[in-house]
Structures are given as C-alpha cells and as structure tokens.
C-alpha cells in the first residue's frame, strides 16, 4: 500500500499547516486489474488531504472515498485543475456503497475536516462532495458540526449546550463548511465548474447503460465463483449414483457434462442476461434470468446436449433456469435502479420457485441415474 501511494505522489505543496502530498493526474493500468479483483484488497489510499496541481488557500476541495478506483477517477478528471482532494476513510469501498453503509458519512467527513485542519488550509468554506455521497452525508449537519464559536462567557450559557448548535451563541468565528453536491460522474467536473458549481439534471442522473453493465460483470463473475465450485461438487457426487450402487466412470463422465451445463447457465444468468437486460420484457431480475435460462435449456435440448433420458432432460430444464434466475437476481445489487422494496418483493416470489426447481431437478436427476 505504501509503495502504491508513493508511485502516484509526485511532489508536495506547501501550506501554513504542513506539506501536502501532490498526486499525479495521469494514470497507469491499475484500474484494469482491480475490476478483476486482482489484489483488490490492496487498493486502498491513505485517508487525508492531497493536492492536484498547485492549489492555494482559495482552491476548491473535492471529497472522495479511499477506494483507489474512486480516487483515481477523481484525480484523472482534475488534470489541469489546482485543487485539494479530501480522502475519507471508507475502508476501501467506493463512494456510493460506502455512503449506503454510512462510512462515507457526515461524521467521517466532519472528523476528516477537523484532523486535516482544512479550515486553516483554505480560506473559503465550500466543499464539493460527489452527489452519490448524499446517501450518507447530510449537508446541513456538516455545516453546523464544522462551525466554530468562541468559548462562552461563564454563567451565560452551559458548556454542554455549545455542542448542540453553535449558532445559539450568536457570535460565530467560523460558519462551518457548506457542502455542494457535485456531479455523479467525475468526468463532468470541468463542466460543473464552468456551470458555476451547479449540476444539470444530466449530471445528477445515474445511468445503467451498456458500458456501465459490462464494467460490473467482471466483479460479479469472480465474486460468485465459490458457489459455482460447490455446485460442481454436488453434481459429481449425484452423478456417481447408479442402479448397482456407485459408478465412478459415470461420475466423471456425467459430472463433467453437468459441470459444463451449470457453467453455461451460470454465465447466462450473470453475463448474458445483464448484457441484454432492457430487452427482456419483464421487470423482475429473477424472472429475466429464468427466461434466459429456459432459452438456454431449449437450445441445449435441440443440440442434444441435455442427454437422452426423459428424467435427465426434465431435470436440466428445471436446474438451468433456476441457476440463471438466481444469478440474475443477485445482479440487483450491481444495478443502479433497483429499490430494496422491489428486491424484497421479487425474492418473495422467486426464491421459493428457485428452491422448488432445484430440489425437483436434483430428484429427477437421481431418478434418471437409477432407471
């Protein structure tokens, strides 16, 4: 981690408080590796204050998470701008998800403003937070919690009250930081600055287009791999069953076929369905995955890859759509437009269906081996 930080730091900027590390605004290929979870745990940035270009006391302050990809996106888009970057400690999680969990939140931002002594480094009281951080950051609370008032005259006000709202004292030496919610995407920062720090509806709206979906696929594929291996193991064991007891050759032959079929349905649910997401004319993700899983089963049936036994074919027509349905259902977390209430609703309907299909499918698979 230290070494990673050293690579991106290219100098220092002097301030009245201390020297602030200056980071490069040109990137290398780290972003490719992180999407495949290669060494993802090491992709943390030390929280604190950084500089791009040569900022001074009047320069803008941009807030981000300490997930390296978030940080890199920001500094790349600050190329040519003299600015401060305030990195919050989100345990290496991106802005939006960390905001949902509360780590990219009001208290961490207030804490980070205080420990970096930001109020002494800049002379303005404006701080730009990416809009998706609003899930965790309450702008009005940041302002009152960073406000500073002089010590009360003894007897006029109770000491404890000073922590509630500094404004009640009347005399305020620092009005606190005003949070401005900036654009969702860092690439809009320059347009946002030109627009006099106002976001347009377009800058504020989250999309989920083709390239957004593709970027998320790799993470999901790698993440769910253990479930896939567990399914392989079960199918090898069940394939060993035959009317005479246990048949190892059959276990290997049918187990390998099962492995290929399961892998195909896994990728149908996790890769093909998300890619064609808007073109499957139902709303529930589990239903979308179920439909594409049936399509897959149909194709494999026509090519003869589901075997010849009636029970076996029926088993695969239940198992493959169920797996695909389950995997697509889990893609709700990666999507950017599903609500918690909606996901709960579709799980109430489709989880029982998936369980029924898998259990019936496995029983039919065993019956097929015994007949």
């Amino acid at each position: 981690m230290k070494q990673k930080n050293r690579q991106m730091i290219i100098g220092t900027v002097n301030t009245p408080i201390r020297e602030i590390p200056q980071v490069a605004t040109k990137l290398y290929w780290g972003a490719v590796k992180v999407r495949w979870l290669i060494g993802r745990d090491h992709y943390l940035v030390a929280p604190g204050l950084y500089a791009t270009g040569k900022p001074d006391e009047s320069s803008d302050v941009f807030v981000t998470a300490n997930y390296k990809l978030s940080f890199d996106h920001l500094r790349k888009n600050l190329d040519g701008i003299d600015a401060w970057i305030l990195v919050l400690d989100t345990k290496g999680v991106n802005v939006w998800c960390a905001a949902g969990k509360g780590t990219f939140g009001t208290s961490e931002l207030v804490h980070r403003i205080k420990v970096t002594r930001l109020g002494k480094i800049v002379n303005h009281r404006k701080i730009i937070v990416p809009q998706l951080g609003a899930v965790g950051i309450a702008a009005h609370l940041v302002k009152s919690l960073t406000a500073v008032c002089p010590k009360p005259i003894p007897g006029t006000i109770k000491q404890s009250q000073t922590n509630i709202n500094p404004r009640i004292l009347g005399e305020i030496v620092d009005h606190g930081f005003r949070v401005i919610f900036g654009p969702v995407r860092a690439k809009d920062i320059k347009a946002f600055i030109q627009n006099r720090y106002q976001t347009t509806t377009e800058m504020r709206t989250v999309t989920f287009n083709f390239s957004d979906r593709i970027k998320l696929l790799t993470v999901d594929i790698v993440y769910a791999r253990y479930k896939l291996f567990a399914a392989f193991a079960i199918m090898f064991l069940l394939s060993a069953i035959d009317p005479q007891g246990v048949n190892l050759i059959q276990a290997i032959n049918n187990g390998l076929t099962a492995m290929i079929l399961i892998t195909l349905s896994y990728f149908t649910g996790i890769l093909i369905t998300p890619v064609v997401l808007p073109y499957i004319p139902v709303r529930m993700f589990a239903f979308k995955g179920l439909i594409s899983g049936f399509f897959l089963s149909g194709i494999l049936f026509l090519t003869g890859d589901l075997g010849v036994g009636y029970f076996g074919i029926a088993a695969w027509f239940l198992l493959l759509p169920a797996i695909s349905s389950f995997m697509t259902m889990n893609f709700t977390g990666a999507s950017t437009f599903t609500s918690l209430s909606g996901v709960k609703k579709e799980m109430k309907i489709f989880v029982p269906i998936q369980i029924f299909m898998v259990s019936t499918g496995l029983i039919l698979y065993i019956i097929n081996n015994l007949t």
Binding site: Q131, V135, V206, T207, Y223, M284, F337, S339
Partner: protein, 96 residues
C-alpha cells in the same frame, strides 16, 4: 437511452408537502430525478424511478421526506447474507 424502470408501485418514498419549504435539496441529491419543485413546494414526479437510496430523506432538514432505505441499494445478495448472518450492517458484497 431511456432509463430502466424497476417494479412498479412498491417504493416506500413519501413526501409531506405541508412540511416542505421548497429548498430544492431533494432535487439536487436524487440520482433518478424523482423530484421537482413546483410553486415553491417539492413534488414526486417519478415515484417508480426511486431506488430508495435515502439521500433525499437524509438531506431534508424539514424532515418532510421518509423512505425505507436499508443499505442504500436494493441488493438480493445483501438480503440473503443478512438473512443468514443476522442483522449485519455490512452487506458483505464485494461488488459494492
């Protein structure tokens, strides 16, 4: 490209217009342009586009907005992990 819409009529987002002072913060923080300011009051114009992230409710100093937001995203993996691991704060999902 048109925004994708999820399941209709399930969203828990509610706005109390009597409390609203028309500051427009909800419009500024909403990632799906659910709100609009009309005649000095906020109104919900696209209820079904809401993903229950909770940004509007958190940033409404008038407490005029309520929404059941959970972890800020609708995530089946998170719901499953919470079901088995009890009420953990973290969804444990590495895609977020």
């Amino acid at each position: 490209m048109k925004t994708m819409v999820y399941i209709k009529d399930v969203v828990t987002l509610k706005l109390n217009q009597d409390k609203c002072n028309g500051c427009g913060m909800c419009v500024k923080v909403c990632p799906h342009a659910v709100f609009n300011i009309e005649m000095g009051k906020a109104e919900i114009v696209k209820q079904d586009y809401c993903m229950e992230c909770g940004a509007c409710a958190l940033n409404c100093r008038q407490a005029a907005i309520t929404v059941l937001s959970g972890l800020g995203c609708g995530c089946a993996t998170g719901i499953i992990e919470n079901y088995f691991a009890g009420n953990r704060k973290d969804c444990g999902c590495s895609s977020c």
